[in-house]
């Protein structure tokens, strides 16, 4: 467990030293969300209707932007090999890295989303559900994305390939995440969607580090 905390602290420290990368993804999120009203028009009713989907799709893309740096630097300088050789299970170290990725790339999106939601005239209740759905959903994005990042490690054209691999797998998170807000706005209650999102997160927490580890070992061969 010590190793888990150590790697978490290390990755967070590295992220803090390179703030610009983190901020770029955040600004990307803001810009993409702001583009939609410009493209569609400023009618409030329409914007309120599309807000959950737009925010979720933008969060998906922003979370994906930062996946590349999850393992790439460690792979380049050989740290990853040392991690694979260490007596601590690699899956535990990978979980630490994924948690660090979520804290630097996922959590800021969750905190920023309500501000952007205000631009779309969402009610405070809908904003709360949106935050809750993102809080459950963004860790899942980091977990699934880690598998893709590990598979495309050191591969030609890795960035584009990563999106091709990962985006189809993000679809359930998108559907239930945006669906939770929409269901609540329609008066159906968001409980079912949020429970399903939580179930997916539980599944991801169990399986994803394992699959990521397998993919990393292939990349290190």
């Amino acid at each position: 467990m010590n190793a888990f905390v150590a790697i978490l602290r290390r990755d967070l420290l590295l992220a803090m030293r390179r703030k610009s990368e983190m901020l770029t993804a955040l600004f990307f999120f803001m810009i993409v969300v702001s583009l939609f009203p410009l493209g569609i028009g400023p009618e409030t009713a329409l914007l309120r209707r599309i807000a959950p989907g737009v925010l979720w799709v933008a969060a998906l893309l922003a979370a994906m932007l930062s996946l590349n740096r999850l393992f790439a630097a460690d792979h380049q300088d050989g740290t990853l090999e040392q991690m694979a050789l260490s007596p601590t299970p690699l899956a535990l170290l990978v979980s630490g890295k994924v948690l660090a990725h979520w804290l630097t790339a996922g959590l800021p999106l969750v905190l920023l989303a309500p501000v952007l939601g205000l631009q779309f005239d969402l009610s405070s209740r809908a904003l709360g559900i949106l935050m809750l759905s993102l809080l459950l959903g963004t860790p899942l994005l980091s977990l699934i994305g880690a598998i893709g990042a590990a598979l495309t490690l050191g591969v030609r054209g890795g960035g584009v390939l990563l999106s091709l691999l990962v985006l189809p797998l993000y679809i359930p998170a998108l559907i239930f995440g945006a669906g939770a807000v929409e269901a609540d706005m329609a008066g159906l209650g968001a409980g079912g969607h949020l429970s399903l999102l939580g179930a997916l997160l539980a599944l991801g927490l169990f399986f994803a580090p394992w699959a990521t580890t397998a993919a990393l070992r292939i990349a290190l061969e």
Binding site: L151, V155, L161, L165, I175, G179, A211, A214, I218, E221
Partner: protein
Amino acid sequence: MSQPLINWFKFASPASFYPLAGKMWPWFAALATAFAAAGLWISFFVAPTDFQQGEGYRIIFIHVPASWMSMFIYCVMAFWSAIGIGFNTRLSGMMSSALAPTGALFAFLSLWTGALWGKPMWGAWWVWDARLTSELILLFLYLGYIALTAAIDDPRRADKAGAIVSLVGVINVPIIYFSVKWWNTLHQGASVSMTKAPTMAATMLWGMLLMALAFWMYSIAVALYRVRAIILERERHATWVAELLEMQR
């Protein structure tokens, strides 16, 4: 341990599978032709015209078997991937990558014929029906697999990475299907349901089953043919390939 009748692991070696596949694929190709001839004959000349849908319904004789095959081939790919990871056999990865283009072809064919059928029946090329959407996502999964294995130069690493992708994908396929289904009922976009189709005449069912068998045989034949090419390409430095070429000269 008693000696089994057939030593299955013998054929896990590309060198011994290559001649076996060479013997098998013409038979499957012949079967595919025979089934397709019978199936097409039934579907065009024997099966009656549908009183609701007219002649246009005959597209389902291609459409339905193609959708079945696209889903089934993905499961077969995942099966070979699991074997490949479990036993570390080289041939399994080759089988997976030999199947992927055929699966993608059937997924595309199913979407294309679905659109052709949808235009006269529903009045739209595309509706966001649960089945259509998950078939589209299945096509994306195939493309992801093909793109990843093509981007990695080392074939062994490509096989293993592809194996993980297809296993992760096969776990996700049911999740995606149900999430799209529930999403669809929430939005109530498509008012037409494919599940409420009228009961089929027996001849239509026969035509469809024969076409499914034809597609099945075609997939096996093509996969075997393609795996032979992959074996030759990967094992070109092995002595048995050189000997093979000597013999054919």
